[in-house]
Amino acid sequence: MPAAAPTTHPGPPPAGLAHSDLLRFAAVGSVDDGKSTLIGRLLFDTRQLFDDQVDALAAAAERRGLGEIDLSFVTDGLRAERSQGITIDVAYRYAATPRRKFVIADCPGHLQYTRNMATGASTADLALVVVDASRGLSEQTRRHICIAALLGVTQIVVAANKMDLVGWEYEPFERLSEELSDLAQRLGIQSSWVVPVSALHGDNVVGSSKNAPWYVGPTILELLESLPAGEWARVHGSHRGSAARLPVQWVLRDPRGGRSYAGMVNGGPFRKGDRVVVLPAGLETAIQSIDTFDGPIDVAPVGKSVSLELTDHIDVSRGDLISSLDDPADVTNLIDATLCWFRDVPLRPGERLRIKHTTRLTPAVVETVSHRFDVNTLELRPVDHLSNNEIGTVSVRTADPLAVDSYRHDRITGSFILIDDATNSTVAAGMIGTPGIDRSQLNPN
């Protein structure tokens, strides 16, 4: 009998990772497939819930005449969510087992809340995809996996849920595994795992189940505890050698004279004395000192909030990028990007919006809308507009030049949002250049 756990990843999950203390993961998948119940089960069985929280769940169940605790209520905390039995917006939960800490984003499954799912997945190391094994892979689940892959999530754990409803038969599980394996491969997802579970009854969530003797692989928790953490941070630039970046947030004026440029290091590290270039102006200078409240430091690692003093008196303001001189970001007014569109009114060429890229806000016009990404066939189809929740390729012209990297290389300097002027709503999430998906695997049309 096959173990069937790894679909694209050979061998057991890597164990004993040195820097793996925090895993950020997003639970995604279609409505009613059981995401919130699975997260509730995971938290309940690992004893993350406090006694008063369990009491409150019991009281909520009793009020509704339910026989037992509804585990989905652990994360579905809003009145409308509980009355409709759905998830509307992302719930963030924090958990810790003896092996590692977790930040969990329980994402909504409804098509109309895709923007909230993207919010939850944009900072995830891993996507926990929940699929109803009795119904198979829906278009909405495929959309979620596609968005996760586009956002650069490189590993997925799939819970083939509700296995009790298919009598713990192997065939539905195998069909699902094959379909997911194919999808993951074509989307360039490096590591994908499928586990047969029942979130309702707890099979293979924390402890292994006797109901599927044909499955000998890890449980959901075992995978979450052992797959690489910190992937998000790793991919977004800490291993890029000299390609240091710091988007300037704020100019700090020392009351005793002098000024420094505050921001969070992205890519790097920066070292005292490094030659740098301030973009988009292109002015070259060097780092005189790296300051923090706790004293000056010689090396500013990725992810640290610091302020930089420069050796030359040049004009630097919010929105500028202090960049490595050896490997600077590209300066451009015209960007090609992959976009997730989040507004009821479709996006058409010529639309004027504002773009927020790193710490810079500037007017922008969408010059072309060229392709829509079909989540069922994974094909790029020529279009002239993007409808709500669709993914496509566009080109955007900006009023101010931007200092950019491709999203594949840097998730901070490679990402942006588009903002509607009238309502201040965020209407799109954009990724610059070719996204994390391997285009050779797609079928360009």
């Binding site: 203390d21 704020w250 009351p255 969070m264 710490t359 201040n424």
Partner: protein, 327 residues
Amino acid sequence: MTTTEIQLPQSSPQIASQIAPQNTIRDGRVEADHLDLLESHSIFILREVAAETERPVLLFSGGKDSAVLLHLAVKAFWPAKLPFPVLHIDTGHNFQDVIAFRDDLISSLGERLIVASVQRSIDDGRVADPGEGSSRNRLQTTTLLDAVRDHRFDAAIGGARRDEDKARAKERVLSFRNAFGQWDPKAQRPELWQLYHGHVNPGEHLRAFPLSDWTELDIWRYIRREAISLPEIYFSHERDVIERDGMLLALSEWVTPRRGERVERMNVRFRTVGDATCTGAVRSNAVTVEEIIEEIATSRISERGATRADDRFSETSMEDRKREGYF
């Protein structure tokens, strides 16, 4: 106007409770890294809010979370002063120790403190006094929204954490409030990556929560690491309390024994600081930060479950208050 600007002495009096950390050695590299990342991200958020909004304000209650928030804000803008004032919504039902702590801390930092008074809102007829000994927690919403309007604040930075409550767990780091101060949980702005978008139209405002990703334990470990001062009521002390609705309320001018209730003297501490009429104490002998960390790490009761009577009305108390414009 329901707010008063407090003129504090410019001298630097002794902070109410100087906590010497029992152990300045970090738990190990792993935890230090985690706290470093949380700190760094919070500083990033504080700088984004200051830059993206015109008239931000930092909310300060005198509790541990706002003490951490203020500490992070000082770090974010050092060596300059804070680019925003500090606002305290004063219910009038205070622990004296907390007010002394507030005044000492803000004056030693030389920052600007604005106090918005719930009592003033009651006197001005903006809200009805719920009566002797009743909680003024919910009334704070009116006082807060009036202060936001009077001062034309477009962002109020608060110390709320997502692990506190299931409604808070749903909220964005930058959370939009309409012209009525309301939160609409069904129409939150997408918030991707680290792109915090803070623009609002006149009359609207934002709430910003730089501590969103922190847990109660993270807060205490950070307090230990940074040697942050706190009001003394956070540490075990002997106090007269009354047991009411399963909570230990401190005997005070607003909380007196009702028929059948007994005043008991015991060793307690406060796990949160809020309106004195609805904030419960917990039995505890923890007198140091180290002991508190140990106590919390093994507790089976959540922070709000142990200490907040106002969350027991219904299963969506927090959501209902937040929709009205609460913190």
